[in-house]
């Protein structure tokens, strides 16, 4: 057991180190950090909507760049190992194919963790800088308006509390966790596909297609579950496959609702994290099974 953990850890570590040295990924990470960092200058909205805009923009940027990084790093992993023949020396050792898949996947998960952490740090800095700008400009406005001293203090305090509550809302942490979970799901989907194909481009395109379909998975499940729906057997079979194999990405719309101001509870967040963990476990088990049958 300990040997197995050691092998998985060694594979995860080498995957992370290798990914961090890939120019394409480094450029993507740099762009992601720059996009989140410069979001301050994109905002031309009224001050009370600026925080909301920043939340929306930064969560969007984290998702888009994270998606690219998850897709590219996972899709090219096995083809690169085959091309460089490193896979032969690895699997010639007493390493199980499932350990190889789990180790490689955990390496990608670690990479996505580093990327999400980097973007989150910049995101939180940007958010707090914007909050301070808003507080300062509001204070200046109130000072110039000639409001009585007592009301002035109260107005400034209320505004400061409101802005800081928006910028330092614990729900932002929930949002970051959900973005990360979504990226890990995408990487798991890409992992499954990359075990049955030699083309990285095919893996990227197919995973992206499944990601898009994942936003409609809920409808497919509803149709399958509803006995009153009048669909043919082929359509029902197709929808059943979608409902069973593709994760429900729409459930992560909690992030968008959070940006709009809807309260997202920790119970809901943990529920989504649990769903992600379940889907990822199933996907990696399937990837291990498919990879164990693959001829190298």
């Amino acid at each position: 057991m300990m040997e197995s953990v050691q092998r998985i850890f060694a594979l995860a570590r080498i995957t992370l180190l290798e990914a961090m040295r890939q120019k394409v990924l480094n450029i993507l990470i740099l762009f992601a950090v720059i996009a989140v960092g410069t979001s301050l200058y994109f905002s031309t909205l009224k001050s009370d909507e600026q925080i909301k805009f920043l939340l929306d923009f930064c969560f969007g940027a984290m998702t888009v760049f994270g998606l690219f990084i998850a897709l590219i790093s996972t899709a090219y992993m096995i083809p690169n190992e085959l091309e460089n023949r490193t896979i032969y020396t690895i699997l010639a050792k007493p390493v199980r194919r499932s350990e190889f898949i789990v180790g490689k996947y955990l390496g990608v998960v670690a990479l996505l963790g580093v990327v999400t952490l980097l973007m989150s740090i910049v995101f939180l800095i940007v958010l707090n800088v914007q909050a301070q700008i808003n507080i300062a400009s509001y204070t200046q406005l109130v000072e110039q308006e000639g409001v009585p001293e007592l009301d002035k203090r109260q107005l400034i305090t209320t505004n400061t509390n409101t802005v800081l509550a928006q910028a330092q809302d614990p729900m932002i942490l929930q949002g970051i966790l959900l973005v990360y979970a979504r990226l890990c799901i995408v990487a798991a989907m890409a992992m499954v596909i990359s075990t049955i194909t030699t083309s990285a481009i095919f893996t990227v395109c197919t995973t992206f297609m499944f990601y898009v379909i994942g936003h409609m998975q809920g409808y497919a499940r509803d149709v399958v579950m509803d006995p009153t729906e009048q669909y043919g057997p082929i359509q029902k079979a197709l929808l059943s496959c979608i409902a069973a194999l593709i994760p429900n990405m729409r459930s992560f719309s909690a992030i968008d609702e959070m940006v709009l101001g809807t309260k997202v509870t920790w119970d809901m967040t943990f529920g989504l994290l649990g769903y992600s963990a379940f889907y990822i476990t199933c996907a990696i088990a399937l990837a291990s099974l498919l990879f164990s049958e693959r001829e190298l």
């Binding site: 050691q6 060694a10 290798e18 460089n84 023949r85 020396t89 010639a92 050792k93 007493p94």
Partner: protein, 312 residues
């Protein structure tokens, strides 16, 4: 009692279906082969003859269409069989950003080693393959020969009883090639079983105890080098100092025919190109060392004369 055979192959077959061409490609026709523990076994044949396929089947990298193989009695593929095997692929590539030490550490962890045992094993192997100067250098700066050496070291990490070396001397210069050949002999001395494939027949002849010749996935012949190479009807005599003129040769021929020889052929002894190459290089190195020693001695003498003059 441990099995006498390191490898037992029975009816091992590999066929690939080519659905688009509606054909079946036979990579390995049913193969029966026993390789004894402690012997060096050479797999010979042109490209695509089934050598690498046989190795991949033993490692479990591909699945057989039919038949089975056992490594020291362990069924293939299995973790147990891989624990007893080390593999060096043809033209091995490793993670270029790692240095020699980190590479061995990574493969050591995959082999279940760790802590001080791994440190000690890495030291031993770096010394065994002569990579002391490449230990801290990234593999991106390694020469082909150095990559083969680190490849051999990673194959030996978990002290396997059987080594599979796929074209271990491919692309390596004659000096490096000779080093690898010497290492194979050293491994045999350590009691390891070595299976290797090579296109360099002269080299195979020097190290292999037995060979098998493959062509288009079929094993054409198998045996010890003596069984395959000795022509019992012909005797080769190598003699120095015999007269080389026509009259002298006629007398020698007459003497041999009187002993029952039906045909006599005279050829001058010819050495191999590799032997000539190694001698020339060794001679040049010795000359360079002597020249260095001469220059150093002259410099020391000049210094001592200068010091003596200063003292006066």
């Amino acid at each position: 009692m441990p099995p006498a055979n390191a490898v037992e192959i029975r009816g091992l077959t590999k066929r690939y279906r080519l659905p688009w061409k509606r054909k079946v490609l036979v990579a390995l026709s049913p193969l029966d082969l026993d390789i004894r523990a402690g012997e060096v076994f050479g797999l010979l044949g042109p490209n695509g003859c089934g050598k690498s396929t046989t190795m991949k089947l033993l490692l479990g990298l591909i699945k057989p269409t039919a038949g089975e193989a056992r490594i020291f009695g362990e069924k293939v593929p299995s973790l147990q069989s891989r624990r007893r095997m080390g593999f060096l692929p043809e033209n091995p590539y490793f993670y270029k950003f790692l240095n020699g030490d980190e590479t061995l550490r990574f493969y050591g962890k995959l082999s279940g080693l760790g802590g001080k045992a791994l440190d000690k094993r890495i030291d031993e192997l770096i010394h065994l393959v002569g990579l002391e100067n490449g230990r801290d250098r990234p593999l991106s700066a390694y020469s082909k020969g150095m990559l083969q050496r680190i490849g051999l070291a990673q194959a030996l990490l978990h002290d396997p009883d059987l080594l599979l070396l796929d074209e271990p001397t491919a692309g390596v210069d004659p000096m490096g090639s000779r080093d690898i050949r010497d290492m194979i002999l050293r491994l045999r001395g350590m009691g390891k079983t070595v299976i290797f494939s090579s296109h360099l027949l002269e080299q195979v002849e020097e190290v292999a105890d037995r060979v098998a010749i493959f062509h288009l996935g079929i094993k054409l012949m198998e045996g010890t080098l003596d069984e395959l190479l000795i022509d019992r009807d012909r005797t080769q005599i190598t003699a120095a100092g015999l007269p080389s003129d026509a009259a002298g040769r006629a007398r020698t021929e007459e003497a041999l025919r009187s002993q029952g020889a039906t045909s006599v052929e005279f050829t001058s002894s010819r050495r191999s190109l590799e032997s000539l190459f190694m001698d020339v290089i060794a001679k040049r190195k010795a000359e360079a060392r002597a020249e260095d020693a001469r220059v150093a001695a002259a410099a020391t003498e000049a210094n001592s004369r200068t010091s003596a003059g200063d003292t006066k």
